[in-house]
């Protein structure tokens, strides 16, 4: 397991910052999230890959905005207003664009399952796994492999 950030309460409890893309619940390990900001003015980067939304000014720092829905192959149109989940990875600021922000959720390892095989491989590679919550599923995004994928 890559994401073994242990919380104070126990080794099998994980905290995830969750958000919604196209009515699905996704989560990123809370330790990897630097901050959450509202949509802001983006500078487009010509010739960049289609999932690169652009650059945003995060209090003087430049962050690269990534459209998660394009990476995850979600064709449904994005809402007009989106949110940014900013992660700092290897000194780079990456901002994932999501539809809506949800709560920080604590889940226990018992509910965890690796992504089912029916998920296409290129998308499966970007996920750590799935937590079965009461009403819905929480898909955990693997930030590092996303970075690896888009940097490759």
């Amino acid at each position: 397991m890559k994401h073994n950030h242990t919380s104070s309460e126990g080794s099998n409890i994980q905290q995830y910052s969750t958000f919604i893309i196209a009515n699905h619940l996704y989560g990123i390990n809370v330790m990897q999230v630097q901050e959450i900001v509202k949509a802001m003015k983006t500078t487009q980067v010509p010739l960049a890959k289609n999932y690169v939304h652009g650059l945003i000014n995060l209090r003087g720092q430049v962050a690269t905005a990534i459209e998660l829905r394009k990476l995850l192959n979600i064709h449904e149109d994005a809402p007009e207003e989106s949110m940014n989940v900013v992660c700092r990875v290897d000194g780079n600021l990456i901002s994932f664009m999501v539809d809506k922000i949800s709560d920080v959720i604590e889940v226990s390892q018992d509910e965890f399952e690796p992504p089912p095989n029916s998920v296409p491989k290129d998308i499966k590679d970007l996920m750590v796994g799935v937590y079965k919550l009461k009403n819905e599923l929480l898909s955990i995004i693997d930030v590092e492999s996303i970075i690896n994928k888009i940097s490759a």
Partner: protein, 946 residues
């Protein structure tokens, strides 16, 4: 740097080093066997010794020397560091500090003879005792004491020599002992005896030891207290508390870096605030505050920048020594002049230019400046001059290294470059002196005939360029043979903040670092006039002061849509002329804004990979802007590629045949556009006019009856996919008759204009499709040269499969026949190759006689026919023919000379050398016929012989 400044630097440095030694010595005591720590101590002591002697502080030097010497055996592992030695070393450090403090206060080394006469012998004693070689000590000791007492400072160096003796002898003896005994037991014995003697020593020095134990944690603050102890013994010094040197604090560079970064951020926020205030807020109070903030931020930025600034003299003054050493070892007299040493530069940049500069200065002294004899012979002052001048210019610091030496030799560089395969003969002829000179920056290039220990290892100049470019600088070289060389480094003031030009294209803004900026050109096109920007099939070119400047549209490279497509027809084109490695190019942008200081932020890897952006920055309005990487842009637009493709251009180089042709004649034709096109006249068979009624269709092919046969017509305009903007409504068409492969073709053009003489070379670097040979510049007019043969073969094979069949039939002539074409002129070589390949021959080419002979001898192929030019570099055609005839295999192989030389004498000479026949260059039918004839003749002969 004045002496006082140097002295003050020395004092500061010494202080720093003493602190460092203190810490390391303390560490070393704890960790013991750490050679690294020991080396640091040793090095620092060595530096102190050297600098002290340089500044005339003889006593200080002595102390440092004694300490250094006592570390020697320890470094070599002969001796182990013991308490006594460490104690004594600490003692020495304290003495050094006394000296240093006295220097700081009064600028003069205080007299500490008693201390010295006490310390140095004691140190020696301890070492020698450790060596267990007491006999020697006594003798040497006495000598030393005596000398110390009588010694005047000037005699000290001699003293130093003596002083080294006891330890050296002891070492020798000890090593001998080891060698003799070579028994571990004995070794331990000697060690234990060492320890015994230590014990004795310990009791002797008990009192002192205690004092040192108190100071055993030797942080700087504690060592200060030690100082006080000593200074209290010298009330005179204590009284003199006036500090004659500048007060400085040494700060971690990291802290400065983050300070600079934060100020950078602050500047950005300031910019945003000021803009906000100016745009939206009418509140006067707010404006006042924002202006105040503006001013303070600017001051703060300047001051913070200053903290990292150092005078470049810190580096430059070191070159006195470098030059002095070189001049001694090479027996040259060299006068080094430094100008502008006070010019300030960011500390990291100073570090970064140090090595490149050393390289350049060494090069100048070694290769640049001639020997005094040679200088006299050339009528120069036998004393060579190297001038290093640094100054500010346009937001950059320029460092010039100028020598009045021999300068760079175009020939030598060119030969070397050709030898190393960096360029070839034909591209050389196109290169300006400056281009050739800049070849020395190519990796793996070294002009020095001999490798000396000073320079000439072949890694010099390219490293210089890489290093300078790494810090965003530019290297420029200017040299006049016989007069000298000047190498100019253009270095940004600081790495953190870069002046950049903001441009707009298709509604987006981009920043271009100012270093790469050459000039801004605004071209106004009046609708009636001919455009100054000429297009070469979609590739735009602008004649900037008689030089062709390839243009690229930023929006096209970035594939962003222009909002108003007609901006080009808007009469105004903004061109940003940029300097890529291999040459200038023009970037077309919609508008050009101000030049501003930007803080370049690194990009995420996935954006770096695009290769066009070097970073991003936050502008005054808070928006993020991408910084363009000029080299990346150029390579993206294939500009670099094209220039490198120039290495094998098929330019028309008639200079070789000056006897006959100085310039080439071109037929100017009209293709119904504003662009100018031409065809080399030598390709043209006839010019004809036909009535439109005469045109008959043969399938899809337009033909006319011409001289008892049918002439296929090719419309040049449509073959090149040029949309004609005007046409001449006449019932006649203009046709250029071209002969290709013994067949006539008619090229239909809108009009035939003129025959002109152009004394210029065809630039084949700038073209985008087959059918175009390149472009040529005639008095700042750009003319496109059409490759007629390519058009015919291109269009014809597509349009007329029947004819293609003919070709194939014909090809049987040349089937399985290998032809070697030796021709140095790219244009002709390619043409001949094409002609022969159309005939079905397998063509091998060589650029000169030597290469040709090599290919023949390599036996990879056996050539059936060899075609050669007469005048070629390295090995001419005549020599080649003779050598070929000497090879058994090739005694009867047809040898054809292709030349423009047709004097009887030449032909006779050629035939005597072994050529079978002489042909005119590019007379295709004759060439093909002769080859066939010769081959048949040869075949018959072989058959007959058989």
């Amino acid at each position: 740097m004045s002496l006082e400044e140097a002295l003050s630097e020395f004092i500061e440095e010494t202080n720093e080093m003493l602190d460092r030694i203190n810490i390391h010595l303390a560490n070393f005591e704890k960790t013991q066997n750490s050679p690294d720590t020991l080396n640091i101590i040793y090095r620092d002591l060595h530096t102190i010794k050297g600098s002290a002697q340089l500044f005339g502080c003889i006593q200080m030097g002595q102390v440092a020397h004694a300490m250094e010497a006592c570390l020697d055996p320890i470094r070599e592992g002969i001796l182990e560091l013991n308490n006594d030695i460490v104690n004594e070393l600490f003692n020495g450090l304290d003495i050094l500090r006394i000296f240093n403090n006295s220097l700081k206060k009064s600028g003069v080394e205080s007299n500490q003879k008693e201390k010295l006469s006490e310390f140095i012998p004691k140190l020696n004693d301890i070492i020698l005792e450790a060596f267990n070689a007491n006999q020697n000590v006594l003798v040497e000791h006495l000598v030393l004491d005596e000398e110390l007492d009588n010694a005047k400072p000037t005699q000290m160096p001699k003293n130093n020599d003596r002083k080294e003796d006891p330890i050296a002898t002891a070492k020798k003896k000890y090593q001998e002992k080891l060698r003799e005994k070579k028994l571990k037991e004995k070794q331990t014995e000697s060690y234990s005896s060492t320890q015994n003697s230590n014990k004795v020593e310990n009791t002797k020095l008990q009192k002192q030891d205690k004092q040192h134990e108190q100071n055993s944690i030797r942080t700087p603050s504690i060592s200060i207290s030690t100082n006080q102890e000593y200074t209290s013994q010298r009330p005179i010094m204590e009284a003199n508390n006036n500090i004659s040197t500048n007060e400085t604090i040494r700060v971690q560079v990291d802290i400065l870096d983050s300070l600079v970064n934060m100020v950078g951020e602050l500047v950005l926020v300031r910019n945003q605030l000021v803009q906000f205030g100016n745009n939206t807020n009418q509140d006067e109070e707010f404006l006042k505050i924002s202006h105040k903030l503006n001013a303070i931020t600017s001051d703060l930025q300047n001051e913070v920048m200053k903290t990292r600034m150092q005078p470049i003299g810190n580096v430059l003054t070191k070159f006195h020594r470098v030059v002095r050493d070189i001049s001694k070892s090479l027996n040259k007299e060299i006068n080094l002049t430094l100008k502008g040493v006070e010019t300030e530069l960011d500390k990291t940049l100073i570090e970064a230019v140090k090595d490149p500069l050393t390289h350049i200065v060494r090069n100048s002294a070694d290769h640049g400046l001639e020997s005094p004899e040679a200088r006299k012979a050339a009528g120069k002052d036998p004393i060579g001059n190297i001038i290093i001048n640094s100054y500010h210019e346009g937001g950059h610091v320029i460092v010039e290294v100028r020598d009045d030496g021999a300068g760079l030799s175009r020939e030598r560089i060119a030969n070397k470059a050709i030898e190393k395969g960096i360029i070839n003969e034909s591209s050389l002829s196109k290169m300006s002196d400056r281009d050739v000179h800049n070849l020395i920056f190519t990796p793996g290039f070294s002009t020095a005939g001999q490798v000396s220990n000073i320079s000439g290892r072949g890694v010099g100049m390219d490293v210089v360029r890489t290093n300078i470019e790494q810090i965003g600088g530019v290297v420029d070289l200017h040299s006049i043979e016989g007069e000298g060389t000047c190498i100019k480094l253009k270095i940004p003031l600081t790495l953190a903040i870069v002046p950049a030009l903001i441009v707009h294209s298709a509604g987006e803004s981009f920043a271009i670092p100012q270093v790469k900026l050459v000039e801004l050109v605004r071209v106004e096109n009046n609708p009636g006039e001919k455009s100054q920007i000429q297009s070469l099939h979609g590739k735009l070119i602008y004649a900037l002061r008689d030089k062709l400047l390839p243009l690229v549209d930023l929006s096209e490279i970035l594939q962003i849509n222009k909002k108003n497509k007609d901006s080009k027809e808007n009469n105004i084109t903004n061109i940003v002329v940029l300097n890529a490695d291999t040459g200038y190019f023009g970037l077309i942008v919609d508008s050009i804004e101000d030049s501003i200081d930007i803080v370049v932020k690194p990009l995420a890897n996935l954006l770096k990979e695009i290769g066009i952006y070097s970073g991003a920055t936050v502008l005054g309005d808070g928006s993020v802007t991408l910084t363009l990487d000029v080299l990346g842009l150029a390579s993206h637009a294939n500009l670099l590629h094209e220039t490198s493709a120039n290495n094998d251009p098929s330019l028309i180089n008639f200079t070789q045949h000056k006897e006959y042709i100085d310039s080439a004649e071109y037929l100017m034709i009209d293709l119904g556009t504003n662009d100018q096109y031409c065809i080399p006249l030598c390709m043209v068979n006839r010019l004809e006019e036909f009535g439109t009624k005469e045109i008959q269709m043969s399938g899809k092919l337009r033909t006319v009856k011409y001289r008892d046969s049918i002439l296929p017509l090719i419309n040049v305009g449509s073959a090149l996919e040029i949309d004609s903007t005007h046409s001449r409504q006449t019932d006649k068409i203009s046709v250029i008759v071209i002969e290709k492969s013994r067949q006539l073709f008619g090229l239909e053009v809108t009009g035939i204009l003129d025959v002109i003489n152009i004394n210029n070379k065809v630039d084949t670097g700038i073209k985008d499709r087959p059918g175009i040979l390149g472009s040529i510049l005639d008095r700042s007019n750009l003319i496109v040269v059409i490759d007629v043969l390519a058009i015919i073969s291109d269009v014809f094979s597509q349009r007329n499969p029947v004819n293609n069949q003919n070709h194939r039939n014909k090809r049987k002539n040349g089937q399985n026949k290998n032809v070697l074409v030796v021709e140095d002129n790219n244009f002709f070589r390619r043409q001949i190759q094409q002609i022969l390949e159309n005939e079905g021959y397998a063509v091998t080419t060589a650029h000169d006689g030597e290469e040709g002979l090599g290919k023949i001898k390599s036996n990879i192929k056996v050539f059936d026919v060899i075609i050669s030019d007469i005048e070629m570099p390295l090995m001419g055609g005549l020599e080649l023919a003779q050598k070929i005839r000497n090879l058994n295999k090739y005694i009867s192989t047809p040898l054809i000379a292709m030349t423009t030389k047709f004097r009887k004498k030449d032909i006779e000479k050629g035939l005597a050398s072994g050529f079978d026949c002489y042909l005119e260059k590019l007379n295709q039918s004759e060439l093909v016929d002769s080859i066939e004839n010769l081959l048949q003749k040869n075949n018959k002969e072989i058959k007959r012989e058989a």
